[in-house]
């Protein structure tokens, strides 16, 4: 379980100092599909980065199964991410000089995953193993980044608007891959989006509004990527 307690985060200093996260508290159960919903600039990405240990909060606690990561040293935080966390970003951030195989291996090596090729197959890229990111379409690049994140067998997968740069059709396909793989592997998903429809795929929805959590609710039934009709 992930427990977030009274999280605050500021950016800037002096005159320009402003609060991006205002006293955020929430809980996410293991195996949840949580969606963080909110307008652009409401602090979703910042919340995601802080919960995942990429950034440090100014105050508050982030507790993973009783261990508080906000007190960890830099090196332990890297170690924590290595053991637990997977990331998928809107911009993919693939390594440009490495082919698909090597990009996925970057994730696989962290958990000594020898059969990462199965994951490349699962996202349907077995024919593009030795292509470079520049030779792939946006959807394919995002599938590589999914394979990279999953190959490291994370306990929690963080996604920051993973379909934001894709057309609807491809976006739906991506979401389908992700939820299918979640059903198989049972990791926790925390996904940021500003798309209301995608929220219907989640069982926990966290709505954010200018740095505050305005609403948290649970869906009794989760829709599949093809049912959300966006």
């Amino acid at each position: 379980m992930i427990e977030v307690k009274e999280l605050t985060k500021f950016y800037g200093s002096g005159e320009n100092r402003f609060q991006v996260l205002k006293n955020i508290s929430l809980k996410i159960e293991d195996g949840d599909f949580a969606v963080v919903l909110g307008a652009s600039g409401s602090g979703k990405s910042t919340l995601l980065n802080v919960i995942s240990g990429l950034e440090r909060p100014d105050s508050g606690e982030i507790i993973y199964d009783k261990s508080n990561i906000s007190t960890l040293s830099d090196n332990s935080l890297v170690e924590f991410r290595r053991e637990n966390i997977g990331f998928i970003f809107q911009q993919y951030y693939l390594l440009p000089n490495m082919d698909v195989d090597k990009n996925v291996k970057m994730g696989a090596d962290l958990s000594s995953n020898k059969d990462y090729k199965a994951i490349i197959e699962a996202v349907g890229l077995e024919n593009k193993l030795h292509k470079y990111p520049s030779e792939l379409s946006g959807g394919e690049q995002q599938r590589v980044s999914i394979a990279r994140a999953l190959a490291k067998r994370p306990k929690v997968l963080f996604l920051d608007e993973p379909t934001g740069a894709l057309d609807e059709q491809t976006g739906r396909q991506i979401l389908d891959y992700i939820s299918k793989l979640q059903n198989e592997c049972g990791f926790t998903i925390i996904m940021v989006t500003h798309n209301l429809n995608i929220a219907e795929m989640a069982n926990t929805v966290i709505k954010m509004n200018s740095g505050k959590v305005s609403e948290i609710y649970t869906n009794s039934t989760q829709k599949t990527a093809y049912e959300i009709g966006w």
């Binding site: 991410r81 911009q91 390594l95 440009p96 490495m98 030795h130």
Partner: protein, 392 residues
């Protein structure tokens, strides 16, 4: 970068990054001016020489001055040329998208390339400082060269031809060269410029990557980093080569020629080694900042990042050191056997093992400190900044 206007591609501010060229051309001109000026001034006293003994000394002075200015000047000239090529290539590489847009808008290659003349400013700044610096040092230098007062006293004169050859011509030549080289580098289809790393997808590369599918990611990355910028491999080897050759040569110079020559060699060696090493490592880190940031996001430790990004260069640095050692031995052997052949009192030259060991030890310490400093830099690469940077 601004679109439109004449300064749309490279501006004067970009020349700040080429400080390496300024430093190196400054050294080159400093050394060459001193020795060449000395050579020209010494001619005026040739008639006053009566004894044969003094004549031999005179000839020796003239030929060492020639050797030193050719060896150091030539070496430094080649380095600044390679650095300039590298910078332009690198600049075009990192600004591919903007340059591609300009081309797509219909700007001709030459119209874009002609802005690259500004890189000549670096050469001008370096050479003019070197030239003026030489004149400040010259009185001491003349005295040192003629320490024992064997020759009649020589006065310092200004030779405009040297100003032309060492400052004006290099500046103009470098500017023209920069324009033409940029023009040549821009001769690529627009799409090639607009898309990231399209040139990486060559057949050769692919075959190689298939062969080592069982190796670890960080080893693959190490190889890929080395392969993706071959010029940097050259710079690292060259840097340690200079360090090794020049420091060892300078120790021998002290015995063979003068303390002044030794100090000069040492200075050139250190300047060349430092500028090229810093240039190369900075480029490696900046060029791989995104990769490093992503590795850190995924939980690769600082040590693993360093190992894969910088570690591959270490063996090359030691190879450069070894080559430098051999080179300086061969060069000095030739110099002693040919140039100083007829001069009496020149000590016999043999390989100086202790000096090599000291030089190696200093090199190891120096290199590892630089690596340590840069590994701290890697640690401080902000993941967030890299991610924000990408959102245009």
């Amino acid at each position: 970068m601004r679109l439109g206007g004449d300064d749309m591609v490279v501006g004067v501010k970009d020349t700040a990054k080429l400080i390496g060229i300024s430093i190196i051309s400054c050294c080159a001109v400093l050394v060459c001016t001193m020795f060449l000026n000395f050579n020209m001034d010494i001619v005026s006293i040739k008639e006053d020489i009566v004894s044969e003994q003094v004549m031999i000394f005179y000839d020796a002075q003239v030929s060492t001055a020639k050797v030193v200015s050719i060896v150091s000047g030539g070496c430094l000239l080649v380095t600044s040329l390679i650095m300039l090529i590298f910078y332009i290539k690198h600049y075009i590489g990192t600004h591919k998208k903007e340059l591609g847009i300009l081309k797509a808008l219909g700007y001709s290659n030459f119209k874009i390339a002609k802005n690259f003349w500004v890189f000549g400013i670096n050469v001008f700044i370096g050479t003019i400082i070197g030239f003026c610096g030489a004149f400040l040092l010259m009185p001491y230098f003349y005295k040192l060269q003629n320490e024992d007062n064997i020759l009649p006293s020589i006065s310092v004169n200004f030779h405009p031809i040297l100003l032309l050859c060492l400052v004006v011509i290099p500046t103009v030549a470098f500017s023209i060269f920069a324009i033409f080289y940029a023009c040549y580098k821009l001769k690529k289809p627009v799409l090639m410029l607009l898309k990231d790393n399209l040139q990486m997808s060559t057949g050769v590369h692919k075959i190689k990557s298939e062969r080592n599918t069982d190796s670890l990611f960080i080893d693959d990355l190490k190889r890929s980093v080395l392969k993706s910028k071959k010029t940097l491999v050259f710079f690292i080897v060259f840097s340690s080569f200079c360090f090794s050759a020049m420091t060892q040569m300078s120790a021998s110079m002290k015995d063979l020629s003068s303390v002044m020559m030794g100090a000069m060699m040492m200075m050139i060696g250190l300047v060349l080694a430092c500028t090229t090493l810093f240039l190369a490592i900075t480029t490696v880190i900046n060029g791989n900042a995104k990769t490093i940031a992503m590795m850190r996001v995924f939980g690769y430790s600082q040590k693993e990042c360093c190992k894969s990004i910088l570690g591959g260069y270490r063996p090359l640095a030691y190879i450069g050191f070894a080559i430098g050692t051999v080179y300086q031995y061969v060069l000095l052997r030739l110099m002693v056997d040919i140039v100083f052949k007829d001069i009496e009192g020149v000590p016999v030259y043999k390989f100086d093992f202790p000096v090599m060991l000291i030089s190696l030890a200093v090199f190891i310490i120096f290199y590892e400190i630089v690596m340590y400093v840069y590994s701290e830099k890697i640690k401080n690469i902000s993941i967030k900044e890299i991610m924000l940077e990408n959102k245009y």
